[in-house]
Amino acid sequence: MLGYVLRRVLWIIPVLWVIATITFFLMHAVPGGPFTREKERTPALERAIQAEYGLDQPVYEQYVRYLGRLVRGDLGISFRDRQPVIDTIQTQGFISAQIAFLSLLLAVTVGMTLGTLSALRHNGPLDYVGVIFATIGASVPHFVLAAFLSTILSVQLGWFDLLGWGGPKAASDLLNPSAYDYRKMVLPVIALSTLPAAYIARVTRASMLEVLNQDYIRTARAKGLRESRVVFRHTLKNAMIPVLTVIGPIAAILVSGSFIIEEMFNISGIGKEYVVAVRGRDYGLIMGTTLFFTLIVSVSSLVVDLLYAVVDPRIRYN
């Protein structure tokens, strides 16, 4: 097992290299650059700008230089504000991670609860509620939901704030209650978690219904086991594989930040930063954040695969 884990971890390295290479050359292939403006510059100024960021070198030379810095752990600087990319990822990735964690927690809790209850009360009122929620949640774009929630819960009722994130800015404040302002946390988390919750609810319901129809569940009930034991020990555990399969990518997507939610709620997260970087052709930040997202997806995939083995004893990795 340790060997499997180590192999998977080592595989991340060539994956990162491939992604870095594809991204680098694609980035330079699209029209426009980080300093392209409508207004004319003097030739000397244009040369100075290009030279300052190494953009006057051939693309392949820039690529080799970038790889050389990358193996030393240097992600370079943002072409926009000249700040180290690693600093941006640390500070803004931390914010996005908080939103992602809370959104995932809410999505899994609500989604699995609704999905389970829907399956257990199949074709009953609770099932219909669950299906309606899942349908609406999957159909309404989260920026529409965010706008709706903002108008009703903040503008009309004044219950919550619209601007900024109410969580701690530094890891050292995670356990400091005064670093939290729930008024600024509720709306972004609800808006971001609704679609994943809907999707998890649908998958949980379908998976549970399939397991509930199995012979061993009928046997367990026939043996007189309590319903809670039947559900939690036998049904839910066997229904978890498909649910885990979707939770992994959902977690990765959430951690990489939601540009729209971060933009709407004025949150300095990594998702917003990434989209701004792409729009502005900020080569340094595009490369750094792309590699960060690749790492997140790779690790999430590994964690999910390992959790399969926890949930299902039949799955073993050599």
């Binding site: 097992m1 004319e40 600093d87 994130w165």
Partner: protein, 598 residues
């Protein structure tokens, strides 16, 4: 498989994830660098009582939150975006400042300078200083006010303005507006050579030879290649602000971060959170103008104007730009109607035409396109009537403005004349006219293109395709001249007629990517550049505008922009002036803003 192995997997999997997150996430405590008394020596934290006025709220209520896009730099010599300049105006000030004259125009008032500059010919010395003639080098001597200081308590001296001038002219600083120091504008002696230099070994020699020096701590001498009546106006702009080289050299690119940055303007930077907000507090060492009443200005970086409007409605913002579509919503609300401010800006938007295109090079084709645009209807349909329909190029508010009256009868909307012009070009009812594409990038421009597409089809019978791209691609296509039609325009940098004409329309002009080449335009520009007095200069530029517009030389004017804002009725001292505002209405005097008492 035994349980021990299974339970080993759980902590292993989470530890793997945890290691990654620990490495990648979690900032340091000092990411938000808030200055303490130790980091800004000389600065005090005592609240400044509002100066005068009996309608002002107490000092502890003098705090506002406003919306703006995130600045790229807070380094005035490197900035080119409006949001950067808007914040820098609050942090720094130049020798002069542009202010509202109360009649739709602009005054140039001394800010750091004691008064108007003394101007003499370069050859003039002694007690009787001769004025320079039009074409000979001129020396501008400016005396600073006494007692000026930076926010850290260091005296503000003439040398800081010299350093700022050198920095503005130095191409390695990558100042987009460094051209203002060079030929055709201020034309500071030696700047053209420095900006053209490619030999690093010569750079210091050229820097030392620049026509700027500190005569003493309070006197600066600028030597220009020829007199320039716009000297004081340009010396109000950000690229001429003073520089603290000691701070810049000590901190490198981090010199503009809280705790490092020092400013000479009414406010100083207290906190900066990338992607979220910045906070300004009064500069306790500001003596050049009115004492700021506001004790804290929080600027939130919000690009989604719909959400910004909602935040304004919920009371979280006191000034915000809004979408044109929200004007009606605000106007229908009795609490908000009086807080809507439509601020005409110094920007003209046009349909730009590639003159090297075989079809578009025909003046009758361009006239047909122009006369097929119902500018009033376009403004209503796309912008809810917010903007000003324009058949002119020189924006309202500038000396030399001629307005629609001069050109509407020549290029304005007229269906019959449009069809006749297209027929004259040989494409009656659009027969044989090739399909053209129009490059756009914003939602407003896309809607405009859709309107034009429909108008040109129904009136002229021609087909237009919409080529939607992102901003860098759009800029690249403009610079590379790979377009047929293009929605774009010009935002003034300073409120003088030369800024909206020089470099844009003369043959081989630097920004002339639509390839306008017209002898009348070129002749008018030469007359303007060689004019010996300001009235003659402005008159020549008016002739240039007339030649551009009547020939539709590269541009078909459509509207002059207006920017809609919400400004809280509890906020006083906001005097909007669209031709000089940057980011917020009236921020050329942000120290004039205050919160009114309830």
């Amino acid at each position: 498989m035994n349980i021990r192995s299974k339970w080993f997997l759980l902590p292993m999997s989470f530890m793997t994830a945890g290691l990654v997150f620990a490495a990648a996430c979690g900032g340091d405590d000092d990411e938000d660098k808030t200055p303490t008394g130790g980091t800004t020596p000389g600065a005090t934290s005592a609240a400044t009582e509002p100066s005068g006025g009996d309608d002002r709220a107490p000092a502890d209520q003098q705090k506002i939150t406003i919306q703006l896009g995130e600045p790229q730099f807070l380094d005035p010599h490197r900035s080119s975006f409006e949001q950067d300049i808007g914040v820098e105006r609050m942090l720094f000030r130049g020798l002069y400042n542009l202010t509202d004259d109360g009649a739709g125009g602009v005054n140039v008032e001394p800010m750091m300078a004691e008064g108007e500059p003394q101007v003499r010919a370069i050859t003039s010395t002694g007690s009787r200083l001769a004025a320079p003639s039009a074409q000979e080098p001129a020396v501008y001597t400016v005396t600073l006010k006494s007692g000026l200081m930076w926010s850290d308590g260091e005296p503000l001296t003439a040398q800081h303005f010299v350093d700022g001038a050198k920095r503005g002219c130095d191409p390695t600083v990558a100042a987009d507006y460094g051209y203002l120091w060079g030929p055709g504008y201020l034309d500071m002696v030696g700047c053209a050579d420095l900006q053209a230099n490619e030999d690093e070994s010569q750079k210091q020699t050229l820097m030392d030879a620049l026509g700027v020096r500190a005569v003493d701590d309070t006197t600066i001498e600028y030597t220009l290649s020829q007199p320039n009546d716009r000297f004081t106006m340009i010396m109000a702009l950000w690229v001429t602000f003073p520089a603290r080289l000691d701070v810049i050299e000590a901190n490198g690119d981090a010199w503009t971060q809280p705790g490092n940055i020092v400013s000479n303007g009414p406010y100083m930077l207290s906190a900066y959170t990338a992607g979220e907000s910045l906070v300004l507090v009064p500069n306790p060492n500001w003596t050049a103008g009115e004492t700021p009443a506001l004790q804290e200005i929080t600027i939130r970086f919000i690009d989604d104007l719909s959400q910004a409007f909602r935040a304004y409605q919920s009371g979280e913002l006191q000034i915000t730009r809004i979408n044109a579509s929200d004007i009606a919503v605000a106007s229908a609300d009795s609490d908000l109607a009086d807080e809507v401010l439509i601020n005409p800006s110094g920007r003209i938007t046009t349909l730009q035409v590639q003159m090297e295109n075989e079809v578009l090079s025909d003046p009758n084709v361009r006239l047909a396109l122009s006369r097929a645009i119902d500018r009033d209807e376009l403004n209503e349909v796309v912008f809810d009537g917010t903007n000003t329909p324009a058949a002119y190029w020189v924006v309202k508010g500038l000396a030399g403005y001629q307005g629609n009256e001069a050109f509407d009868s020549i290029i304005g909307f007229d269906e019959v004349a449009a069809k006749a012009a297209l027929a004259e070009a040989g494409y009656a009812d659009g027969a044989g006219f090739p399909e053209l594409s129009i490059v756009v990038h914003t939602p407003d421009f896309i809607r405009t293109a859709e309107y034009l597409q429909e108008q040109f089809k129904s009136i002229l019978g021609i087909d237009i395709t919409i080529d939607q791209v992102d901003s860098p691609t759009r800029s690249a296509r403009f610079r590379e001249e790979t377009f047929e039609l293009f929605i774009g325009g010009w935002q003034i940098d300073y409120p003088d007629i030369e800024n909206v004409l020089f470099g844009l329309f003369e043959t081989d002009g630097g920004n002339n990517h639509y390839n306008c080449s017209n002898t009348d335009v070129d002749a008018a520009l030469q007359a303007a550049l060689s004019a010996t007095d300001d009235d003659a200069r402005v008159a020549a530029y008016e002739d240039m505008e007339t030649a551009v517009v009547t020939n539709l030389c590269g541009v078909i004017p459509m509207w002059q922009d207006s920017l809609p804002f919400m400004v809280s009725s509890r906020l006083g001292g906001v005097v909007a002036n669209g031709t000089i505002d940057a980011g917020h209405p009236g921020n050329y005097c942000a120290e004039c803003w205050y919160v009114k008492a309830e």
